[in-house]
Structure formats: structure tokens, C-alpha cells
Amino acid sequence: MEGLSPEIWVAVRLTIALAATTTVILLIVGTPIAWWLARSRAWWKEAVATVVALPLVLPPTVLGFYLLVVLGPNGPGGALARLWGDATLAFTFAGLVIGSVVYSMPFVVQPIRNAFEAMGERPMEVAATLRAAPLKAFMTVAVPLARPGFATAAVLGFAHTVGEFGIVLMIGGNIPGSTKVLSVAVFDYVEAMQWREANILAAGMAAFAFVVILAMTLIQKRAARISE
């Protein structure tokens, strides 16, 4: 890898930091949402599910535009940023994390919800008859049984965050070390006609995507074998 400019490594580190932070937050926020979607009988739950799924079909520019409005100086994000003396959350790492969380949400919520639904009501009922309080039952039964769903969710959430581009451009700008992630870097190298760097990054990300999808397939196969 000699001869690669240090700025590429900055972008790699930033991308990993962003994807990892986003994945952790998504698992924490997405799990209760997925549980509620899997268990609730509220008639409007599918409306909530649709909102969660919107990023699947919305152009990233549309989502980016709304995020810009929300995170910008005149939105709640700006008000929040003023607490520590900034003017806006847009064009910051924190803003990028928020955007990524929204953008990758469906990729995390859907597999976890599916896993919770596939489990059925029975295991939690059994746990209750064995005197497990709801939280204990959730942690010792629901979460372990949904482990393949969590694995898929984590892999997809991470990979999808690594692969996002439009949203980063809209709300992140292109600040090295703060918001300039790999996908944007590829774009920059192409613009600047630095084909060698663009090639290396593109090939690296293609290989990464291959590994991710293969890993997921294997996870699901293994899960199917265990839970017969």
C-alpha cells in the first residue's frame, strides 16, 4: 500500500469510525423499535414501519435536504449545537452520524423485527411462566433467539453506512478528517483524474461489499441450521 497518500488513511479511519458509531447507535435505538413493530397490535404500527423504511426509496438528496433543514442553524439541530457554542450540526461528524442513523435505520430494524416475529410469542410466554420478569425474559430469551437477526442487522447497518454517498454530500460537505468519507473520496479522485487512487479505493470497497454479503449469507445459513 506504499505510495497511498495519508489522506486516504484519514478517510478510511473516518469511514470506520462513522460506520461503527452509527451501528452501535442503530442497534440501541433500532431494537426497541423492532420489538414494538413485531409485537404491537396497534393499527398504525405499519405507518411507523413505513416511515422507518422510507430511506429505502427516497433519493438521498431528498433525505439530505430535510436533514439539512433539521440539523442546520435554524433547525433543532442548530439549537442543540448552540449549547456547546456551535452554530449548526450540519457539516460536522455528529451531524453525519445522525444522518447515517436515519439513512441506515431500515437495514437494522427490518432483520431484527423479522427475527422477533419468527420467534413467535411462545418463548416469551414460557419465560413468563418460569417467573422471568419481562426485561429478564427479553434479555435472556428474545435477544439470544434473535441473534442471527442482530448479526445481519449489524453487518448491513455497518456496510450500508460505509456505502452512503448522497447524504454525506448533502449534509457533510467534504471536510477531510471530519466528514470526508471513502465514498466521497472516490468521487474526488475521479473529479481530479487521479485514476490510480480511485481504482484502489473502488476495488477495496468492492471487495468489502463482497465479503459483507457473503458473511451475511453464511450467518443466515448457520442460523437456519441451529433453529430447526
Binding site: 411462545r122 413468563a128 411462566t129 422471568a132 430469551v141 430447526e228
Partner: protein, 364 residues
Amino acid sequence: MTDPTLRLSFRGRLGRFALDAAFETPAVGITALFGPSGCGKTTLLRCIAGLQRLDGDCAIGGEVWQDGARFLPTHRRALGYVFQEASLFPHLSVRRNLLYGARGANSNGIGLDTVIDLLGIGHLLERAPRNLSGGERQRVAIGRALLSQPKLLLMDEPLSALDRETKSEILPFLERLHERLALPIIYVSHDMGEIERLADHLVLMAEGRVIAAGPLAKLESDPALPLATASDAAVMLEATAEEYDARYGLATLRVEGRPFLVPASPEIVGKHQRLRVAAGDVSLAHEPSKTSTILNIVPVRILSASALGEHQMLAVLGLRPDGQGARLLARVTRRSWEHLALAEGLDLYAQIKSVALARGPSRG
């Protein structure tokens, strides 16, 4: 328990199904909920467990689980629940399944060793549930429920998902449970054979309602209930095996002091047994025949009689010459009834063509 009675009543609608069921039963022995599929047995059991919430009252030996004011969530009720499918946790070993809800055994509690011994699951402890047979899984599920130190064990057709061979492998374990543990059990079933072997009390259900509740023998011999008029009607007699005649392979069992000869194996001697006498195997005679091949001929009194269709009569008989003993059923033709001039109150003899042990070879 201060009040050794289970008092239950629930009413409400679930979709199109309406449940309005109430009964009381002693907090000892096995109470069977019996009725056709879809009559609400499982729903009633789920209400008792708090898995389903309908209006009603639920008191277990003086401990109130539900009334107008309160509803104790399932995890705060001291119950064990055995589902139709074993429902073991697939991610835990047999041992960790057993210990999931385990509470420290108090003085009269049930310890891991007792459960392992009672259910014969010692060799399975380190296995994963997916490597067990259906019968083994259900035994582990029963053990798991017992180890949570329940005050009431609820069993929802625990054998119905098993094939016939596995069923007969598990029934003796349930009988041992019954003999050895002072734990009230509510047992849902639509299989009269299981109930005849296991139940002490019976709750008959139909279309979401309780038709009758009481001791098994009483309900079986009540001509107003569908059990006595069914083609396979039978009564159970509680008996003690006294001696065994190896020459003929016959055991002498006493029912209220009266001897019955029953084909059996020698190891039943000294043990409590339950005899099954089918209504179709009992015929009536004014004199005890000395020339018949029938082994068991006992004096009885006709307590009541009713027509069974056009051509048959169903008689309820009381054992002992004064008719005050255990009840028997006899199904005879209308022709014989009229020719012999039989009537209520008459003293005569019941000739019982076949008496069987309801519990099969006991494993003690």
C-alpha cells in the same frame, strides 16, 4: 395453604369465541379439563396462567391471582405451565433449560435431583434440545416447570403432539408425579384414555362453558352427562391389589372390600390400582350364576335407569348389597330389561365380563 380449593371463573370474548366458565376444585390431585376441540379448554388454562386476560376471578388456595381489582402478571404467579409442544429454549442446554426458572427448593420443594430421578432425564443434561426425541423434550419441559416450585401445575394436552408409543412412555412418569408430589395439577385433554388413567377430578366443557365439575367417578356415572351415554362409557374403581395367583396370572384387587379378579402381573401386589369397567361389559342377572365363565359377579342395586336410544337401557348400579358403594354402569338391551322385569331399586347381580387395570403395568 389455608384454603385448599382452586376457585376459577372467567368470562369474555376472544374474537368470535365466548368463554363463560367457572368451577371449583380441590387443590390436591389432578383435575382434568375435558371437552371437544375448540370448547375453550386451552383458553381457560391460559386465563388461569394470566397469559390471556379476560374478566374473572382466580384464587389458588387462598392466594388471589385475579379479581375485579387486581391482575397478577404471569411472572408473578407461582405456577408451572407445560405447553402442548415442549417449547424448550433452543439456545440453552437441557440443564440450563431445567434451571432457567429454578428456585431454591424449600423444605417441601422439588430439587434438581428429585426431578431428574422422577423423569429419568439424567443422561440428557448436557444435550441441546434439538438432539432430543419428542418424548424426552416433553419430560424436560415438565421438569423445568416443576423446578420453578409451582403451587399449581398447568398442563395443556402435554401428550397430544406425541405418537402413541411415546405417549405410553410418558404416562407412567405423570402417574409417578401424581403419586409422589403433593402438587395440584390442572390437565387439559380431549383423550378420555389419559383422563381415566390420571384424573381425580373432572371438569367437562362444551362451547366455552363448564357443563359439570366433580370427582371423576361421579361424573362418569352420571346418566345426564354425555360420558355415561357414550358408546365407550366406563367407570373407574379405586382398588388395592392384595394377592396374585401365578397359576392363572390373576390378581385379587379389593374395591371397597369386595374382591375382583383381574389379569395382571405379580408386581402390582400391595399397590393402589385403578380398575376400568366398561358399561358394555356389564350384564345383569337375578341370581349369581355358578356355571358361567365370568370371573367377577357382584351384588348391586339399580339406582337409576334411562333409555339409550330406542333399543338399549343404561342402568346406574351401586356396588354392595345396599347400593351405597361405588357406581357401575350397565348397558343392556331393552328386550332383556323388560323380560327380566328390571326396575330402579331392584337388588341383583352384575356380571362383569372384563375388568382391566386403567393404569397398565405400574412402574411404581
